[in-house]
């Protein structure tokens, strides 16, 4: 997927200011920044949820996974029905089989299909949301702060899943997060956004160990660290 000169405006406010960014196949590109940096607006533009100017190519079937797995699943629908919503093209029997396959892909037992979201943990719900997105056979997955509403103890399993999806499916992923430690762990490349622009972009380890932009440096210094 290639983004070129993408601009998102809300009235007089420019949330994303002519951003150019590429997510190559089989790569996870991290997008970090603070609130108001424009990273969420960029994600929404790529997902077709807000109008924009500029061009996005190579991403015709974008799916997005949202931050809060408690809000992104309809509380009155069974898990199986939610996952099946992206599979309306398939006939009934094939749809059931596909739901089971997708749940397996995110390491959830097939019996989860008959349960309601409230019966699952936050991490399991987030897997369901990922399975639902995968059902639409996306050519780009946008993950918007997908672990920031989760407890640390289950976050790891979701992050491992994201990495394994890249490895097994070669799926390009735009991974948005405010948490630099998470981005460092998951992403191959990282782009730092500030004031609607990308101020730095490069291979993750390079950006993290030798930040070129002063804003990136400040972000890195602010990461809370356990004194080891």
């Amino acid at each position: 997927m290639k983004i070129k000169d993408l601009t998102v405006r809300f009235g007089a406010f420019t949330a994303v200011d002519s951003v150019t960014l590429e997510v190559p196949p089989g790569r996870i590109v991290g997008l970090v920044g603070e609130s108001g940096s424009g990273k969420s607006s960029l994600a929404k533009a790529v997902s077709g949820l807000v109008p924009y100017s500029g061009s996005i190519t190579g991403a015709s079937r974008v799916q997005m996974v949202f931050q809060d797995p408690y809000a992104s699943l309809d509380p009155r629908m069974k898990i199986g029905e939610s996952v099946a919503e992206g599979l309306l093209r398939l006939p009934g029997q094939a749809r059931v089989a596909e739901v089971a396959r997708l749940l397996d892909l995110v390491s959830l037992p097939a019996e989860v299909a008959g349960r309601y979201p409230r019966e699952l943990s936050g991490g399991q719900r987030q897997r369901v949301a990922i399975a639902r997105a995968l059902g639409a056979e996306p050519d780009l997955l946008v993950a918007d702060e997908i672990t920031s509403a989760l407890d640390v103890s289950v976050q790891g399993s979701v992050l491992n899943l994201v990495r394994s999806l890249r490895d097994r499916l070669g799926l390009p992923i735009l991974f948005i997060s405010h948490n630099l430690a998470v981005v460092r762990y998951v992403c191959d490349e990282v782009a730092v956004m500030h004031g609607g622009r990308i101020v730095e972009h490069g291979p993750t380890l390079e950006v993290v160990s030798e930040p070129a932009d002063p804003y990136t440096r400040m972000l890195l210094e602010s990461v809370p660290r356990l004194r080891r």
């Binding site: 309809d74 640390v152 762990y185």
Partner: protein, 599 residues
């Protein structure tokens, strides 16, 4: 909730009306239609308590019989209004933009139109009689329903699950039927109950104006209409139907109100019931700023989110309480601050602040010696008041300062927490400040007194990392300067590790480990603490290995069993762990652990 007088009254009234509608006509039907030429237009008598009409029919019987018809008409009108309203309200979400705007505009115009006029107009057009009146009232009810549906639908339409469905290419009609309507059904049904009351009154009004039910049929409104001409001679003939209409109307409205309130399930902050759990045997620690022993928070139904928790904070110390969602850490903070919401009850063996039992502290002492900072600064700030005024209020109320002194101190405190141009900020409303600045203002508010203890519950969770860093630094600075202690509650073990001197780890309502912060990263002894630390990615995590995580989930506050609550997720668990609970015991210097396998 069904205990309030209005709820009982509503339920009883509606129940009576339903019973009346069922049994009225079969029991009193014949009597109501019995024409008695000898008893025309009588007033109250033993045979006819409410008098008779111009054909000598008994009016009490007629009122009782008319209940069924009146209620059925009201039900029909309310249903027509509700169905029409829901359709009108939901249409814009499936129509093309232009048409949608047209429908919305029409609804807005109709909402502004007086309902009774709308009803009368429709009734006249549709023809006199019951049908016209029902249609008229239905039409009058519809716009309100349409508006409600629109508002509710708009909030659901903004939900993430609707966005997700849209991205999956689910058609709009299906989104409406599968996602939007089921999730707004509850408030709509509640509104229907209230609309029933309205329809009943409206229909009575229509009949009373002669626009409604025509003879020989009759409903309460019609009876009222017939009786009204005689009201100066024999008032009793109008009272029967009037009372019936009023009671039914009130009943439905009260019941609707009750149901709505029940559905909202708001937790009303109430008085906390304080009970002593265990007798206070050993001597209190006079030096501690805060001493908590055997603190328990219980909710009805065996839900116990905090279980026999003990901790103490010494002067100048910052103690971190870390735990995941559902560990009981925030309720611990709330219990210490006396803020546990109704119907929770707090029990403790000892709860002492600044060397005194909290029950001995006056409101004023509590207000100046304890400062609380929450995740959402807006919880502590009144959005309608200017920041400076709110801070000054503290000094006026608790310290008896004059207005001018208080203002001066407020500006000084705002400067103290590094708000740029404090005198200017003091004149602003909370919403004009950024999240980080608001949190500073709340801290400044705590500093208006001379706090001995600051309780900060996730104060930086909603903030950006760079702002978080500043607030953490500020908290450190404030405690060092004022010598006050702090209890810092957080889900983020890295933040706790950076700020605090001592760390208390909570799991399923209990303290499982308490240790000095420098042992946290490498010296933790409890399997849960260790697992938390290994599952936390940091700037040195090995990217080639999968990230650790803890399988399963924390038991809920009603599910905690006899043994170690962590046993189902613990790699070291033995048989003993699931039956016998390990107590917190000394593990090393200032280090305590509750685990059978920690040696």
């Amino acid at each position: 909730m069904l205990r309030t007088p209005s709820a009982i009254a509503g339920t009883v009234l509606v129940g009576l009306m339903v019973v009346l509608a069922v049994i009225g006509p079969p029991i009193w039907g014949d009597q109501a239609d019995l024409i008695d030429a000898g008893a025309i237009l009588q007033g109250s008598s033993a045979a006819h308590p409410l008098g008779t009409d111009n054909l000598g029919r008994d009016l009490l019987a007629r009122v009782l019989v008319a209940g069924r018809f009146s209620l059925l008409l009201a039900l029909a009108a309310a249903l027509i209004g509700a169905v029409a309203g829901v359709v009108l309200g939901a249409l814009p979400s499936v129509l093309p933009t232009r048409l949608a705007r047209l429908v919305t505009g029409a609804v807005n115009a109709l909402v502004a139109f007086p309902g009774l006029l709308l009803a009368m107009f429709t009734a006249v057009v549709a023809g006199l009689g019951a049908r016209g009146a029902v249609l008229g009232i239905g039409v009058a009810i519809a716009p309100g329903f349409a508006r409600l549906t629109q508002t509710l639908a708009a909030s659901v339409a903004g939900a993430d699950y609707v966005s997700a469905a849209r991205m999956l290419g689910v058609p709009r009609r299906r989104i409406l039927v599968r996602h939007v309507l089921p999730n707004i059904a509850e408030p709509l049904i509640l509104n229907l109950t209230q609309a029933l009351g309205g329809a009943l009154l409206g229909l009575a009004g229509m009949s009373f104006l002669g626009l409604g039910v025509q003879p020989p049929s009759y409903d309460w409104g019609r009876l009222l209409f017939d009786g009204f001409g005689r009201i100066y001679v024999t008032p009793v003939v109008a009272i029967g139907p009037a009372v019936a209409v009023a009671l039914a109307g009130i009943g439905f409205n009260l019941l609707g109100d009750t149901l709505a309130r029940r559905a909202a399930r708001t937790t009303v902050p109430g008085k906390k019931a304080t009970t002593s759990v265990a007798a206070d045997t050993d001597k209190p620690d006079e030096g501690a700023v805060l001493e908590v022993k055997d603190l328990t928070v219980t909710f009805p139904g065996g839900v116990t989110p905090v279980r026999q928790l003990s901790l103490s904070v010494r002067p100048g110390e910052i103690v971190g309480v870390v735990g995941e969602s559902g560990s009981g850490k925030s309720l611990t903070a709330a219990a210490i601050g006396g803020l546990v919401p109704y119907p929770g009850t707090v029990g403790y063996g000892r709860l002492r602040l600044c060397g005194k039992d909290v029950t001995e502290l006056s409101r004023k002492e509590l207000g100046t010696s304890l400062a609380m900072v929450f995740q959402d600064p807006m919880a502590s700030l009144n959005p309608a008041l200017k920041v400076g005024g709110q801070l000054a209020e503290v000094a006026v109320v608790h310290q008896g300062a004059t207005r001018a002194e208080a203002r001066g101190r407020a500006v000084d405190r705002l400067g103290h927490v590094h708000l740029p141009e404090p005198d200017k900020q003091a004149k602003k409303h909370p919403h004009e400040l950024s999240g980080g600045m608001r949190q500073r203002a709340v801290i400044a508010m705590g500093l208006m007194g001379t706090p001995r203890l600051i309780i900060a519950d996730e104060p930086t969770t909603a903030l950006d990392v760079t702002v978080q860093r500043q607030i953490l630094r500020l908290l450190r600075e404030v405690t060092e300067e004022t010598g006050s202690a702090a209890l810092f509650i957080s889900h983020d073990i890295a933040v706790v590790g950076e700020l605090c001197d001592r760390v208390v780890v909570m799991y399923a309502g209990r303290v499982v480990e308490e240790l000095p912060v420098d042992r946290l990263a490498t010296g933790a002894a409890h399997p849960y603490t260790r697992a938390l630390i290994t599952s936390l990615p940091d700037m040195d995590t090995d990217r080639t290995l999968p990230l650790a995580s803890i399988p399963g989930r924390q038991p809920g506050p009603a599910e905690v069993g006899d043994g170690c609550a962590f046993a189902p997720r613990c790699a070291l668990a033995t048989d003993r762990c699931s039956t016998e609970r390990p107590l917190l015991s000394v593990y090393g210097d200032a280090h305590q652990v509750a685990c059978w396998e920690a040696k």
